[in-house]
Symmetry: C5
Subunit: 309 residues, 5 copies
């Protein structure tokens, strides 16, 4: 697999990183229909843990079966497929080598009381990722939670272990918790801060949410206004998040959230592209649609990221 010049340039940003990690990044960037473009679309399926099976799969019952997701990601020509241990194992033989996989190493669930705090359980290991032939580990942090320091420490250790063994790290940086308001969870200053934290923790690929023009932190708001940072469009906000990811030296993909209309998804993708983002990570918006619709949607997204739409 010869890397494209675009990909080579991206890889060069990962200075001092092990050849193993670079090879895994290369593998993901050179897979699927966006190969060589530096853009990525990833299918994540961890919502069964977070929201329960019926909410996740019942809208498209074929999705109860782990094989469905592997096949969807392969047929759609995506860059990678991400899931927790059990789900990844359930297709590990059948689809071995057909698509890069990301083992999600921690998991949230909806059966937690308020007193339990905002946190996730570690439900896999780097060793599992090696055994299953994964390209990367995935890990969620909750900046803003009282448990955030613990989560930072967990991924710091796992990242080190993974990198030494030639596995890349994807950080889901999702602000929430005691220090942040509901609106703040998607505020642009918070989104950019979440990207910065993930970058500083050594993430190779950063996953954040698209943001609103809300500014959550008083001190940050002052600076955004003084320095006239443009947050009026989604593309502008993506651009601020990319700057906050080491001036674009890190791959950043954006998530779409709950299921919504297709036009809205395409608008999001154009904004990501125009703001300099590296792509989309789309779960419920794909597998909760009927398979044909989902494949058509991915076709269109590929076109958008290739700049044809």
């Amino acid at each position: 697999m010869k890397a494209s010049n675009t990909v080579k340039k991206i890889l060069a940003n990962y200075e001092g990183e092990t050849p193993g990690v670079k090879a895994k990044l290369c593998q993901m960037l050179m897979s699927g229909r966006l190969k060589g473009t530096g853009k990525m679309i990833i299918l994540p399926v961890d919502q069964g843990f977070e929201h329960g099976p019926a909410r996740t799969y019942a809208p498209n019952p074929a999705a109860y079966d782990p094989h469905y997701h592997y096949q969807l990601a392969i047929d759609a020509g995506l860059n990678a497929f991400a899931a927790p241990l059990g789900l990844l194992e359930a297709g590990a033989d059948t689809f071995a080598g057909q698509i890069p996989t990301i083992l999600k190493l921690n998991s949230a669930n909806s059966l937690m009381s308020d007193t339990a705090g905002k946190n996730q359980a570690i439900t896999g290991s780097v060793e599992d990722a090696l055994r299953l032939g994964c390209s990367a580990i995935g890990f969620t942090i909750y900046p803003g939670s009282d448990m955030a320091l613990d989560m930072f420490e967990e991924i710091t250790e796992m990242r080190r272990e993974a990198a030494a063994l030639g596995i890349a790290t994807v950080i889901w940086s999702y602000p929430r918790g005691e220090a942040i308001s509901k609106d703040g969870e998607t505020a642009v200053d918070i989104a950019a801060y979440a990207a910065q934290i993930a970058a500083l923790l050594g993430a190779h690929i950063i996953k954040i949410k698209l943001s609103t023009d809300h500014l959550e932190l008083k001190e940050a708001k002052k600076v955004f206004q003084e320095q006239k940072i443009d947050v009026s469009t989604q593309a502008a906000r993506v651009a601020e998040c990319m700057r906050s990811s080491f001036a674009g030296r890190r791959l950043v993909v954006f998530s779409g959230g709950a299921k919504k209309g297709e036009d809205s998804i395409y608008d999001d993708a154009r904004a990501i592209r125009d703001g300099g983002g590296n792509g989309s990570i789309i779960g419920r918006n794909s597998f909760q649609r009927e398979r044909g619709e989902a494949l058509a949607m991915f076709d269109k997204l590929v076109d958008i990221y290739k700049g044809r739409d």
Copy 2:
């Protein structure tokens, strides 16, 4: 021991799993009077820890002796016998090799105040399971408890260690705790969620409770109703739990709870069978009966699972 085609098909679902684990699953599925059918009946005896000795054994005093349970499970032709460390050791020599055993690695007790939280103590290790020649480890999780994340992390580590050493993992997924109402503990949405969590954690065999048609979580209830998921019969509810166990790719056995009438037990077994479940795990309903009665009951259950009743 030649595996039946049914068993081979089941084993094929455990993709990427070590041959050692598959051998242990095969051993349990090819033991006893249900061998080769893909159905299982397991005798669990951990109630002495959870409820104390008198409540557990006094109704049938012969049951104070650990040997009684080994012999009952062997004579009834069950697939496996599950118990905590001390109890398993008390017959480890006498009955070595006569029935597959499952070492229960954590244990609850009734001597805990409300402030202690819902949790269990780890009272054994994978190393103990190896030493005692066990086929599997057993572990209880309490989705819904504020301690649930810790329990998930504990079994994640133990499962990894066990699988690497060729030992299978059975997860008792019993929802309870701060986030769940009393009715919710047996609600069908919660039962299916509990099965999904166990599957995602990598359980090879999932043990859940039979459920009611109650729907606990508001968001889940909406989906159950919109998608018209049938929860009107026990068999239908078992089917939803099987779908939630990777569309039936995982073995699921159902527990019976406190001692009750025989007819009710047989109705449960028929519902498990008709809903696609893999069998029963029956403790107090067997060993709190006189031995002759218990053996007759197991006979009948075998018939039901073989489809003869």
Copy 3:
């Protein structure tokens, strides 16, 4: 040292246990004046930690010196001497090999506020027990305390380590804490439950307190009454505790508590004997008496356990 048939029969109950552990149990059962009878008298001296030195030793000032206790246990022909690290070390050379010793691995103290919870500190290790030539480790659990799960986990690990290295485990199972009333601490249902927990945790020798006819737990009380379990005499209560120790497959010794009249001590011993218990563990009732009196008391106890009184 040829084991008696009685001892051989007892050892056979420790199925699957390492020869090293069996050798240590044999050593204790074949030591002292009760050798070969399957009965045991043990001298425990950990009250200096729990109650302070003056309360413990001042009634018989010779007892401030660790050598006093070694010599007393040897001269009385007891089966074993149990103490915390520092005390055991203080006579480790002088008395090496003259009496089996039990290293108490955790210790309570009276200088704890209510908010500190009911717990003990780990004040020794299996490695120390090996180095000091001990026959067993000793460990206290507090069923009923909010710290009980932690204590169960600690002894589970230490027991495993000890057994693998050929050292036996004695569990002091002393119910107390948030979940139990003052009367409940000595209730017969609780005492039997405490014995069952110790047995399930893998104790080789179980140490519990003699109990009253109080029944603490509502659910247990119902069963005791329905099944007509006799709790009217101390011997009957000892018998229920022995049943709860795997139908007598485990050695159980009973403790005497605070200093009291000699007749009461002898009555206790007869009840232990008649109920099928394995012996006494007597601390303050021996060393707080003048040495001559204490030796005479032990003489009498030996006679009782030999069935001569």
Copy 4:
């Protein structure tokens, strides 16, 4: 690199330290335009973690790029560049060997509620410092926080590991938390105490804040007044901090805080110099200025430390 006599004298104070650590201290003291003088200027860039990207970099947008900081530190002829893992890695290849680097091993952030306590997350390891060719690790402690004991223990372990591997340790000793008032955070008695704690913990280089003449602790205030310790000038206060750093046997650098006027910065440096301090650690006051201005400021600071201004 031949060490100057001044540097040799400083190194001699690190008695019993490994040659590897001394070599790293020598490397930092013999780098840049202050080489050989025993004075140091260090550029720290960890504010992106602590305050977020916009507040940190937007005033000088070129600073969003990690390369900017490496280049600034090199061009200004500083002694060392300090940053967290991700940022240091982002230029690790390009600038390898061009300037001594300090890997900041723990990181604060502004997204923490009051209930989360005053603490930082460990976001790197000594192993990372070795791999990246760093001269030292950096670690922040918060004397006065309820988490302080934990932080002391963390750096104690990391320092030991680092020193054994030939890497020096810089401790950022920043008083804050439950036990200290806002004014107290910069009180001179507290600053000197913070220096003493860092020295006792084994710091090779101590980083504290410049202080005010406020005296926070009643008992300390009494002594300052009785012993007539001069706290009337910044230089006098620096001198008390140097005395508290083992009578000047440890290197101490002082930080400047939020961006402020240049004159104020130069006055600070003169006070540090005149009080016997070893230099400045200047972050926001340099990189939030336009590059030309920042370089001019560093020129001036070098002159001051060389005694030419």
Copy 5:
């Protein structure tokens, strides 16, 4: 170095201890002007951590320099010098081999709020003690604190590690915390209890405070009165503490507390001597005096312990 008969007799009390530990005890007992007498004077300098630098050193500014303390202890002919890691390292080369040293492994500080609890941070390791050529490790426990169990467990592990490596253990047993009143901290029953706990934890040298005739614990008070334990003089109270240290089988040194008049110090030493104690540990009362005065004071103390005064 030929040990005196007195010292040989003391060493014989450390039964079963490693030759390495005995050698270190011998080294301390055979050092300085009290060599061979079985008496000891130790200089501890950890007050800079506990009270801050000004309160500790400003009364005698030469004491800011770690070398001052080494030199004082050597010139006064003391048995040992105790200090935390950083301070000990600061003279480790210059004074190597000139006086036995004790590395204090945990440290308190005055910058802790009430909610932080009574505890110390571990600020060194056995490995550090080895590297620095120390004779012993030192560790403070706070019997009576809600953190006491943790502290007991910490020193249990460190003692084991140290003894295996041939290093002795000194325990500072200082009652304080939630379970003890202010008067109780120096009550004689509590002081004796503190000595007993240290002895049971395996301390080779026990450091406690001189006590008052106050009796803190109701149950203990009853026994002191019933048994007519003499607490009317300091010597009598020292004697009770020595009895509580395994009837004098352990070395016990007594501390002097805050700076006070010389006569009072000499009275204390006579009481220690007459009560059978092994010596003094004197920090602030020595180094806060002018050097000449301090040396004269030590002269006088040596005379007292030699029985000449």
